[in-house]
Amino acid sequence: MTSTMILICVLCAIGLVGLIAALWAVGAYNALVALRNRFKNSFAQIDVQLKRRYDLIPNLVEVAKGYIKHERETLEAVMAARSGAMTAHGRAVADPTDAGAMKQLMAAEGTLGGTLGRLMMVAEAYPDLKANQTMAQLSEELTSTENKVSFARQAYNDAVMAYNTQREIFPSVFIAGMFNFQAAQLYEIEDVAARQAPKVAFT
């Protein structure tokens, strides 16, 4: 066998290995993209529910205003927290892969939950407000939206987890590093007590 033949065989082998490596790289890249799209898409479900909550709050505050005489700053705090959360929400919706924006949204949502909890506590002192039909209906709807948010959050976190795992395991970690696949942020509400707060009202 001539040395040319050997050389060609070696080159062919290298080519084959290169081809397999290239195929694998494309596959790993596509898998990462697919998983990233999946968690971005599941944010849409949280998004819908959060929006609904932002729509409910002004009505709730409007009704409460008619009854609450003292501690009116609680009402203002709720509205301020709402608009803060809406700003953060807008940024997170624009790009769910932005971990910073997601953290901001979580913090703002935590504050909103806390102020809502305080409002409900204050409302306890006003029996007329508790008896108000609209108020009862609104807070029921708020609780149900809360449940839906947490269900959507669970789905979102599962999707984020699948993406983050794929991003970190060997060997796709190389592809993730090379093409700058950023770690995604889990959506968690830190203050559990604050999140629970709206639920205890009127039950």
């Binding site: 050389l7 081809l19 898409n41 849409a44 479900q45 819908v48 839906k148 669970q154 599962d158």
Partner: protein, 622 residues
């Protein structure tokens, strides 16, 4: 007009022709490559001694590479429609969206799905200004419909309906499955070209460092081989595209015609096509992966086709004239329409007419404008609290579970306990929705499931698993499983499980006899607790099947749910001729007096859906 089974068969025949043409072009590539190898070798006498080895290497190397490329892509696409939508960067619309343009689009899709008896497909939006759309998936369970932002925002409701009707026709005709197959196969040939390019590039970087004459000589041969690979790969791809184009264009005319037939409104579809012609972006897409999937789109997605015979779509004017022969050739500018909600009177629904059992099969997969109108009216007639609930994953679960509960409150109590134990919040949601669903009657069962399915698919795998487990325990808790409950639970399960069925496509009834007997037995027994009446029903059904001396016996009463599920899956995978006859037998089993009552109609529609034969609601006019 072909019936459902005939058009599915046509798609399968087309697929077979496609595979044959593909095999032909692969053979041509292998022969050409060998010829090139021979030409190179004949320059150098030392090579001729190894001639046979080289030819074997070339042949099997090429075949292996094409096979690997095709298999890889096919595996990638096995995840179905959502994989394609994700590949194209689609954004999934939440069913509960309240943005006007999104709401209109979702409503149009929901109406069409209810009209045809298929689950509502997941809707995706591609962030592209051009006006275009596609449907993708293996079948109704994993189907998605994707439209561009331009399509969603610039088209009026009627035009949108025309486009969606076109896509539903692809969905019902089995074109989608063929599309996926095509993408997979062509990828094998494309891979050949890509590896040629890769080889050339590697050699290009190698020659710079090499100074040995001998190596340079080897490189020259290799470069020649790589060039040949590249050229041949692209020639193969060219032929592949040609095949794709030839098949695709014919289907587009068919889908246009079907769309007009579904909506009885040629102006809608023609208007959409005219807007594409008038829009600056036309129907073009900017995504770099468009080439791979160009044949699935509503209109030509690639920029300026200078070669007409390579176009995957007929020219726009020809398509418009096919619908509207008197067209004056003037395009419409694609200005966003004013969004007015469609005026649908929330009238009560017409009673389901009684039809004859033998008419059932002919109605599979056939929609008329009346059905589309019915879909819209039904959607309007459903209470808003219910449609809202069905459009989001959390409460969609409750909407489905509420359908599975016993009608009798006392018997439903233990079922509520099961739900309460697994998730208290869900139990109260189920209670609320049960009160809404109860007065709606049997006719609303399937539409509620159809509406809920895309939301349910939004769940994560873990959530999906626990939901299916909950359904199973709710159904098991019940002492008396009715026909509808059983089939409904199975239906939800198969539509949530997006793996394509692994069962073989059987072409004759004989190997499926045990499965058919089991299915008919269950249907007969669920219909009546009286053994005599059950066996009458079974006899009526088997009379439709036994013309070839086949023997069907009623099965013992100890069938496990898994067995029945497996039987349904096997029948669902069978060839159309078989499914047609089985469904006909089911129609006689469910309605053994030969007349299908409204509640029997619902059961039949559920069974048909399990067999992947979408059966539209029964209206007076088929």
């Amino acid at each position: 007009m072909m019936d459902f089974f005939a058009s599915q068969d046509r798609a399968r025949r087309n697929s077979r022709r496609l595979v044959a043409l593909f095999a032909l072009s692969v053979a041509a590539i292998v022969v050409t490559l060998n010829a090139v190898a021979f030409g190179v070798m004949s320059q150098d006498p030392t090579w001729l001694a190894h001639r046979l080895d080289v030819h074997l290497w070339v042949t099997f190397g090429t075949l292996g590479m094409i096979a690997a490329g095709s298999a890889w892509k096919t595996a990638q696409l096995s995840k179905g429609g959502s994989a394609v939508a994700a590949m194209m960067g689609g954004r999934a619309l939440a069913g509960a969206s309240s943005i006007p343009a999104e709401r209109t689009l979702l409503n149009v899709v929901e109406e069409m799905a209810i009209a045809s008896g298929t689950p509502v497909p997941q809707v995706y939006v591609l962030d592209e200004p051009g006006i275009n759309a596609f449907a993708a998936g293996h079948g109704p369970s994993d189907a998605v419909i994707a439209v561009t932002r331009g399509c969603m925002e610039d088209l009026s409701r009627d035009e949108l309906q025309g486009v969606i009707g076109h896509e539903f026709s692809h969905l019902l005709n089995g074109d989608m499955r063929q599309n996926l197959k095509l993408i997979g196969l062509l990828n094998g040939i494309l891979l050949l070209a890509l590896s040629g390019r890769l080889l050339l590039r590697l050699l290009g970087s190698g020659t710079g460092t090499s100074s040995r004459r001998e190596r340079g000589g080897g490189n020259a041969y290799l470069a020649l081989a790589a060039l040949a690979l590249l050229a041949i790969g692209y020639i193969g791809y060219f032929f592949g595209t040609l095949i794709k184009a030839a098949l695709s264009r014919q289907r587009e005319y068919l889908a246009d015609a079907s769309s007009v037939q579904f909506t009885r409104n040629p102006d809608g579809l023609a208007g959409a096509l005219k807007k594409i012609g008038g829009a600056s972006g036309g129907s073009r897409l900017t995504n770099e992966r468009t080439e791979e999937v160009s044949h699935m789109f509503f209109a030509d997605a690639l920029s300026s086709r200078f070669l007409g015979f390579l176009g995957t779509h007929p020219p726009l004017p020809a398509r418009i004239r096919a619908i509207e022969p008197t067209w004056n050739g003037i395009w419409t500018s694609a200005a966003p329409p004013s969004r007015t909600a469609a005026v649908v009177e929330p009238a009560t629904l017409p009673p389901t007419p009684r039809i004859r059992s033998e008419q059932v099969v002919g109605r599979v997969g056939r929609i008329s404008p009346d059905h589309v109108g019915f879909g819209a009216r039904l959607l309007a007639a459903l209470p808003a609290a219910l449609t809202d609930a069905a459009r989001q994953p959390y409460s969609a679960r409750a909407a489905v579970i509420a359908l599975l509960l016993d009608q009798d409150d006392a018997k439903a109590a233990p079922q509520f306990e099961v739900i309460e134990r697994s998730e208290p919040g869900l139990a109260s949601e189920v209670r609320r929705l049960r009160l809404i669903e109860k007065p709606l009657g049997d006719g609303a069962r399937l539409p509620i499931v159809q509406l809920a399915l895309p939301s349910l698919r939004q769940m994560s795998d873990a959530q999906r698993g626990s939901f299916l487990a909950l359904i199973r325990s709710v159904v098991d808790t019940d002492g008396t499983v009715t026909r509808a409950e059983f089939v409904l639970a199975h239906l939800v399960k198969i539509h949530l499980d997006d793996r394509p069925s692994a069962a073989p496509a059987v072409a004759s009834i004989r190997p499926l006899l045990p499965d058919i007997a089991l299915l008919l037995t269950e249907l007969a027994r669920c219909g009546s607790s009286d053994p005599a009446r059950a066996s009458t029903a079974f006899a009526a059904a088997s009379a439709r099947l036994v013309d070839q001396g086949l023997q069907l016996r009623m099965q013992p009463n100890d069938a496990r749910p898994e067995d029945i599920a497996r039987a349904l899956d096997r029948i669902a995978a069978a060839e159309n001729g078989v499914k047609r006859r089985v469904l006909d037998a089911c129609a006689w089993c469910v309605a053994n007096d030969g007349e299908v009552t409204p509640s029997e109609a619902e059961t039949l529609r559920l069974v048909a859906d399990c067999l992947r034969c979408p059966l539209p609601p029964f209206l007076d006019q088929p």
